[in-house]
Amino acid sequence: MRGHRRPVRVSGKRVLASVGLVGLLLGSAACGGGDGDDNGPAQEGTVEDVSEQGDPVEGGEITVGLEAETNSWLPGEGSFSNSGTTVAYAIYDPLIKRTAEGDFRPYLAESMEPNADLTVWTLKLRPNVQFHDGTPLNAQALKTIFDEYLTAPTSNVKNTLADVTALNVVDDLTVEYVLAQTNAAFPSVLTGSPGWPFSPTAAAAAGEDAGANPVGTGPFQFVSWQRDSAFVVEKNDNYWQEGLPHLDGITFRPIPDEDTRVSSLQSGDIDAMQTLRQSTVQRARDLDGVDNYEYLGNNAGGSIINSSIAPFDDLRVRQALAYAIDQPALIDVIGGTGLTPAATQYFSPDSPFYSEKAAEAFPTYDMEQAQELYDDYINDPQRSDGEPVGTDLAFTYRCPPDPTLNELSQLYQNFWSQLGMDVSLETVEQAAHVQNGISKDYEVQCWRVGDEQDPYVTLKNAFTEGPLNFTGYTSPEIADGLETLRTTTDLAERQEAVAQISLDISENVPNLFTGYTLTDIAVRDVVKNVDGWTFPDGTEGDGVPGAQAMWGFVWTTE
């Protein structure tokens, strides 16, 4: 029987967020960096809002309300958003997970170690682990999954694994990932769906229906799925972690509407719900008999500026746009006042990669400064857009159709119009919006940035040549910092590299920000230990980033 620590959950400003690869599996020190005041008043960021946990209780079932349905449960085919990932953690075990300190550590894997130049990563599996269908989890299973599914032509993780030139079987429980180049951040890839082993025999037998019949090694096994209605799992009696899971079963129900999801929690139709919407977090905090497991991650709202086209290729214009916006007003529109601090970079204040220097360098509301920069540009005979001197800028700001985003767009328009800019607003449906970003067919548009991946992955995608460099911005300083992130596991060096990149971004403003996103799993207070998962060796896990829980550790007192 596992021992459970932490009689009282403390969610306040956890030291989590970003992924220090640091000391990864090599036993190096933790990254620290938390600024939490666990006993402080509820202000910005997560708050202590959780009832007494007590001892684990075995049995019982719960129903969880999700933000969205998932298209398929097969890694390589499924688009695992926050909703999909939290369900996946019931069915699958990730090979690698992140600790509370931000390190990566083997979870389903027993160990993972790199060679000297970080081009070959050797992963050893735990013995005697089976998939739900009885197929053993071994090296050959990993290779089959990699060769036949994850790197198939239509796989949606093919690009994520593009650096892996081969996956070789070393012995029955050992494989090595051979990379095309040094990559210190590689283990972070295995925290996502490329690192969730599924039964190759079950997938082969199910054929095209494999995505509807998931078979993993996780604490729960699949029972039934009615799309858009219910995904039902039951306890895996042969789970490799003794004493887990506590629950007999879970029903996951996608309830896309925020209001009715909250109403369902209030009425007791569901026992837990996830949300990424700030106004809903605010509402959930006010509900009686509800515990909130919050997490302030790196994901932040804001806008991207297409710096590859005039006039936005000129720093003065980008800076003018940034100085003209009042971030607290924008945060208020999205319901984040009192929940989220103003964002200034790709990493939140809770992240070990947050940079004070970059935060100070990011433009803050100053209309005079904005006007000066703007006037300087439009009166410059050499202005980059070739328009006559004195001609005001005219551009379009795009956002997907959503009442809150409409309001946000109007506020941006109002700020920039005060400078003399002629800002048109355009509503673009989400699918076209993303495509516009990839093809850089936009001027300025709303966008979300930042995630919980290794900073190398996040920043490389955003600021090197490629489809995910939506702003078109690159610089030698960023390239230099990325090279450090790619080639070293030393925390201090990596923090310094990220700070250098963040400072460059603050000074060159390819992005505008609102606030970081506070996510929440709100539960009836009979549901316990939602963020209390640990590694098999007892190391504390990273809680509930992105409202994704490790359900094997959860119990109910009802």
């Binding site: 032509p153 239509t154 690009n159 229906d209 799309r227 109403s263 993303v434 495509q435």
Partner: protein, 319 residues
């Protein structure tokens, strides 16, 4: 004969519907290949590979003919997004939308017929005015507002009906009805207001007809006059609108199924549009359009039953 005469126009309508459905979905901005791959993996090479595999680079006429040819045999293809057969997905979800929609129409008619008749019978009185103003008020409230209001009352406050979720009839008929009731009621509110107003207007006219006066003179009871003599000839507009309103109910189901988290066709359509799952959108839109056309065709047939003059080309009316 009347059915046979209408058949060519029905087939022409269905062809036009299929063509428009295909064209409109094909012209939507946003690349399905991008949705499949996700932004992280959307390299130009990967996008090209997926587009080629799905045949998205073929000319539109070629794609249309391939799609409609397969659709005529019942093969709507497989979803780009979920890999499930489109026909199977629609068949799985149709009972949910149909049950909620039919329940909504039944609730609306059960309320509207007696209330509309009462309003007509008491035309000009205080009762009539209360019914009329209530109907106008209900017409003005969008169904999603009604839904939220109903959830607050019946789920959150009283706790007697579920706020969200669906139970299949085959699993538990009672729970199935409970899960369908609030969504159906949300759709029914506006419908019952429309039906009430229509029936009232038609019935006021009917009640002024000579045969009603004759019945009254003969001493026939008011109830018998209303239900046996006046209701049938007053039902034409009601029936026409009930047919046309099937479209409104299907449209409303997109919103209501999302709000109540029901696994119906409306929600499938919405998700598929957002995700650019073109084959699914085309399949669902076609099925909805066909349902709409068939329902209205059936209403036309019922007309001829209610009023034989119609099946005779209104020749009797001209005599």
């Amino acid at each position: 004969m009347y059915v046979l005469r209408r058949l060519p126009s029905l087939l022409a309508t269905l062809f036009a519907v299929s063509l428009l459905t295909f064209l409109m979905t094909s012209l939507l901005p946003g690349d399905p290949a991008l949705q499949i791959l996700g932004a992280e993996n959307a390299t130009p090479e990967a996008i090209a590979e997926v587009r080629a595999e799905l045949g998205l680079d073929d000319p539109l006429p070629v794609r249309y003919l391939a799609w409609i040819g397969d659709a005529l045999t019942g093969d709507f293809g497989r979803s780009y997004r979920t890999s499930e057969p489109v026909a199977e997905a629609i068949i799985d979800r149709l009972p949910v939308t149909a049950e909620v929609g039919i329940l909504a129409i039944i609730i609306a008619l059960l309320v509207a017929i007696p209330v509309g008749m009462l309003s007509a019978y008491r035309a000009g009185t205080r009762t009539d005015k209360i019914i009329s103003s209530t109907s106008f008020g209900l017409l003005a409230v969008p169904n999603f507002m009604v839904a939220i209001f109903l959830i607050l009352i019946f789920s959150v406050t009283l706790g007697i009906l579920p706020a969200t979720g669906w139970v299949n009839f085959t699993d538990d008929p009672v729970q199935n009805l409970r899960s369908a009731l609030l969504p159906a009621l949300s759709l029914a509110i506006a419908e019952m207001a429309v039906y009430t107003r229509l029936l009232r207007t038609d019935m006021i006219a009917t009640l002024q007809q000579d045969f009603v006066t004759m019945a009254r003179v003969k001493g026939v009871s008011n109830r018998r006059i209303l239900f046996r003599h006046a209701l049938r000839p007053s039902s034409f507009s009601l029936m026409t609108v009930a047919g046309v309103q099937v479209g409104a109910i299907i449209g409303g189901s997109v919103v209501i199924e999302t709000l109540f988290a029901l696994p119906g066709v409306g929600r499938l359509l919405l998700d598929s549009v957002v995700q650019r799952d073109l084959l699914m959108v085309q399949g669902v839109a076609l099925v909805i359009a066909v349902s709409y056309v068939v329902v209205n065709f059936t209403v036309d047939i019922l007309y001829s039953y209610l009023d034989p003059r119609i099946s005779h080309g209104r020749s009797a009316a001209r005599v």
